[in-house]
Amino acid sequence: MIELWNVSKTYEAGNKALRNVSMNVEDGEFVFIIGRSGSGKSTLLKMLLKEIEPTSGKIIVNDMNLGKMPRKFIPKYRRKLGMVFQDFRLLKDRNVYENVAFAQRVIGASTKSIKESVPAILTMVGLSSKYKFLPQQLSGGEQQRVAIARALINRPEILLADEPTGNLDGHNSMEIMKLLNEINKQGTTVIVVTHSQEIVDRMKKRVIVMDRGAIISDEKKGGYTYEN
C-alpha cells in the first residue's frame, strides 16, 4: 500500500512542484495520474522511487516510511519497484536479452536464475523470438515491451510508468496498456502517468488529476477530465 500524507516539494529555485498532496493506493490497484505538464506527476513518481525527497510530509510504501529509510536500504527498496520511462532507457549496445538480464545481473542474481527468468519474461511480453535484436532494430512498441520486461524481471510489487506510451502510436499504445493491465491482474500495483485521453477513457481505471502540484480530482473509474 502506498500512502502520501501532506507531501509538498519545493525545488531550490523556489518552484513548488507538490502542495500538500495526500493519497492512498491499495495493493493491486491500477491508477492513472494525469495533469498538465509541470503539474507534479513526475515529481510524485520520483519521490516514490526515492530519487528526490519531499520538502515536507510523509510517504509510506508497504509500511516503510521513506523519509526515515537509511541510505543503505534504498537499493533493496527499489527492487520492490519497477520503473518504465517514456524514452525506454534501454542500453543501445546490448541486445534484448542482455537488456533484460542486466536488471538481474546488477542486483547480483545468479546466472542460473537469469537463464530461467529472462526467456520467461520475454515470452510474456511477446518478444521471445527477438531476444538477439538490438534496441534500434525494434519498433517503439517493442522497445517499450523490453523496458517493461526489464522492469518486471525482479518481480516488483509496484510498477511505476512515466508516460509509457508517450513515444508510441495509438495501436502500440493500446498494446502496451493491455500488457500493463495483464501485469496488474497478476497482482502488481500499477501507477501510470499519462497524457493520453484515449487510453484513460478506454481503460476505466482510477484516475487522479493533478494541477499545479495539487490533487484536484480522484475518481474510482474515471475518465480524462481536464483540457490539456
Binding site: L49, E51, R78, R89, L91, R105, V106, I107, G108
Partner: protein, 302 residues
C-alpha cells in the same frame, strides 16, 4: 560476491577501457611514465644505498682505554658496546696487534729498525675496539654514550664521513620523493579524468542501475576494475622495460668501464627486481584503485 558478478564487473571494466580507448591509453602511458621514472630512481637509490652501506661498513668509531685498565674490564666494556642495538659489529685490536700494524705502516721493509722497541711496546696502552654501526645516523648518539663509559680514554670518529653520507642519502631520497610526487599527481589527475569520462559515458546505465536497485558497490565495481587494470598495465610495461634496460646497462658499464667496478659495484637485476616489481605493481594497483574509487563517488548521487 558471486563468481558471475565478479566476471560481469571485470567484463564491464574491460568494456569501459575499450569504449574510451584513447583516454585509457593516455592514462596507461602516464602511469607507465611515472612508474618508469619511479623504477629508474628506485634503481639509482638502491644502488646508492648499497654503496653507502658498503662504505658505512668501513667507517668505524675507535674506542681507546685508560692506561693500565684491566683486561677483564676492557672485555666487559666490549660486551656493553656489542649489546647496543645501533652496533653492527665490533673488532678488538690488542696492543700487540696495534704495534704490529704500526710497524708495517711506519717501518715498511725496515722492520729491524723497530727491534729496539721489542721489549717495550710504545703502544702498550693502545688496545682498542673499532665499532661499526648499522646506520651512521646514530654515530653522535653512540659516541656520546661511549665517552661517558668509565675507563674510556678517547673516542676517535669521523664526523665528516658520517654527515656526508647522511646528507647524500637525504638528498637522493628527497629528490626522488619530489619527482615521484609530481608524477604521481599527474597520473592521479589523468586516471581521474579517464574514470570521469567513462562515468559520463555510462551515465544512463548508472542511472538505470540505481533505479533498478543496484548497490553503490555494484555501480562502482566496473570503474574500480577499470582503474586497477590501468594501474596494473601501466606498472607492468615499465617494469619489463626497466628489467632489460637495467641488465643491459650494468653489462655495458661493467664491460666498457671495468675501472669503475673497483669503485662502484652495481647490484644485479635479480637482487633488486623482486622488490622493484612488488613496489611498482602495488603503486599501480593502489593508484588505480583509490583514484577510481573516489572519482566515481561523485557520480553515484541518484
Amino acid at each position: 560476491m558471486r563468481i558471475s558478478t565478479f566476471w560481469y564487473c571485470l567484463k564491464q571494466g574491460v568494456n569501459n577501457i575499450c569504449r574510451n580507448i584513447l583516454f585509457s591509453l593516455a592514462s596507461i602511458a602516464t602511469v607507465s611514465a611515472c612508474i618508469f621514472l619511479f623504477c629508474l630512481f628506485f634503481s639509482i637509490m638502491i644502488n646508492v644505498q648499497h654503496v653507502i652501506k658498503n662504505t658505512e661498513g668501513t667507517v668505524g668509531v675507535t674506542v681507546f682505554f685508560e692506561a693500565g685498565l684491566d683486561k677483564n674490564k676492557i672485555t666487559e666494556i666490549g660486551n656493553q658496546i656489542k649489546a647496543r642495538e645501533e652496533v653492527k659489529e665490533t673488532k678488538f685490536i690488542s696492543a700487540e696487534e696495534a704495534w704490529n700494524e704500526a710497524k708495517k705502516e711506519y717501518f715498511g721493509d725496515m722492520q729491524d729498525l723497530a727491534e729496539g722497541f721489542e721489549q717495550d711496546n710504545p703502544l702498550a696502552n693502545s688496545s682498542s675496539y673499532t665499532v661499526f654501526l648499522k646506520d651512521l645516523v646514530n654515530q653522535d648518539k653512540v659516541v656520546d654514550w661511549l665517552k661517558g663509559i668509565e675507563g674510556v680514554r678517547k673516542v676517535n670518529y669521523s664526523r665528516t664521513a658520517a654527515e656526508g653520507m647522511n646528507s647524500l642519502n637525504k638528498v637522493v631520497g628527497v629528490l626522488s620523493m619530489l619527482i615521484i610526487g609530481i608524477l604521481l599527481s599527474v597520473a592521479i589527475f589523468l586516471i581521474s579524468n579517464t574514470i570521469s569520462v567513462a562515468a559520463a559515458f555510462r551515465k544512463n546505465e548508472n542511472h538505470i542501475m540505481k533505479l533498478i536497485g543496484a548497490t553503490d558497490y555494484m555501480i562502482r565495481a566496473p570503474f574500480v576494475v577499470e582503474g586497477i587494470i590501468i594501474g596494473l598495465v601501466g606498472a607492468s610495461i615499465p617494469l619489463i622495460a626497466i628489467y632489460f634496460l637495467y641488465r643491459s646497462t650494468v653489462e655495458y658499464v661493467v664491460t666498457k668501464f671495468s675501472i669503475l667496478t673497483g669503485l662502484f659495484q652495481f647490484l644485479p637485476v635479480e637482487a633488486i627486481f623482486p622488490y622493484m616489481a612488488a613496489t611498482a605493481l602495488s603503486l599501480g594497483l593502489g593508484i588505480g584503485f583509490f583514484v577510481s574509487f573516489f572519482t566515481i563517488r561523485k557520480h553515484l548521487k541518484v
